[in-house]
Subunit: 158 residues, 2 copies
C-alpha cells in the first residue's frame, strides 16, 4: 500500500484526520477533566456531574430541578435520578414546592454546605494539573463559551 506519496493524496482527506478536529479535541479534553477529577471526587463519593450540581447550589441554594437543568444544560431525565443519588448521599434535600406542587426544590444539607470548603482544595489541584495561567484559562474558557453558544444555535438563546 501507500507506495509513493500516499501522505498527501487528496488534501481534503487531511481535514478528516482525527487530530485535526476541534470536536475531538474538546471531546478528549472533557474526558481528561473527568479522569482528573475522579480520584479527587471519589473521596467524597461524588461523580463529576454531581459535583457540578453542588457548584451550582453553592452559588444559589434552593433551586428547582428545571432551574438546575438550565444552569448545567441538562434535562430532568438526567437530573431526577442524579439528584436522588445526591440526596441518598446526604448532600441535598428534595421537597415539593408548597406553592406549586409540580416543582421540586433542591436545597443543600449542612453536609452539602460543609463540602464547599473542601471544593477549594479540589479546584487548586485541578488548576495545578491543568498547568494553565489564569490568563490562558480565561481565554480558553471564553472561546469555548462562544463556541458553545454558536453550536447551540437557534435551539435556545438564554
Amino acid at each position: 500500500m501507500t507506495t509513493k506519496a500516499a501522505k498527501f493524496d487528496s488534501g481534503s482527506d487531511e481535514a478528516l484526520a482525527l487530530g485535526q478536529q476541534l470536536c475531538f479535541a474538546v471531546y478528549s479534553a472533557a474526558h481528561a477533566f473527568n479522569r482528573a477529577y475522579k480520584p479527587l471526587l471519589d473521596r467524597f463519593g461524588l461523580t463529576y456531574p454531581q459535583y457540578l450540581v453542588l457548584l451550582a447550589l453553592w452559588q444559589q441554594d434552593r433551586m428547582t430541578v428545571k432551574r438546575i437543568g438550565e444552569e448545567l444544560g441538562l434535562d430532568s431525565g438526567t437530573l431526577s435520578p442524579l439528584l436522588k443519588r445526591l440526596e441518598a448521599a446526604g448532600y441535598v434535600r428534595r421537597a415539593r414546592d408548597a406553592a406549586d406542587e409540580r416543582q421540586v426544590i433542591v436545597s443543600l444539607t449542612q453536609g452539602g454546605r460543609d463540602l464547599k470548603a473542601e471544593a477549594f482544595g479540589i479546584l487548586r489541584d485541578i488548576g495545578n494539573a491543568s498547568g494553565c495561567s489564569l490568563e490562558e484559562v480565561r481565554e480558553m474558557r471564553d472561546a469555548l463559551h462562544r463556541l458553545t453558544q454558536r453550536l447551540a444555535g437557534r435551539h435556545q438563546e438564554s
Copy 2:
C-alpha cells in the same frame, strides 16, 4: 467580615462560580458538539463515538481494538459493544487475527468506506455551525490538546 458585602465576602468564592470554570466550559462545549452532530449522524444511524471510530479507520484501516482505543482514548470495555453495533450496522467487520488469536482486527466494509464521502458534508455543516475561522480552530484545538496532555499527566505519555 461576611455579613455586609456578601457578594465579595471571600474572593475565592468567585473562583467556584460555575461560569468561571474551564472544566465546565469544556464539558458544555462537548455536549454542544454532541447535540450538533446528532441530527447529522442520525441519518446514518451513527452515534458520535461511532463516528469517531470511523474517522480513525478512514485514516488507517485494519486496526486492533486496542489500537483504536489508543487513538480515541477509550478502553475495550467501551469499544467492544460499540464495535459490535458498528458491525451490526454494516460499517465494519471484526475478525480474530490469525497470527495472534487474542487480537481482533477491525476493518471497514464497502459501506463503511462509502460513508467517508458523506463525512465531508458533515464536517462542513459543523464547521459552519461552529462559526470559527480556520485560524481560531487551530488555536483552540492546539490549546485543548496541550491541556489534555497536562491533565493526563504521568498516567501515560505516548
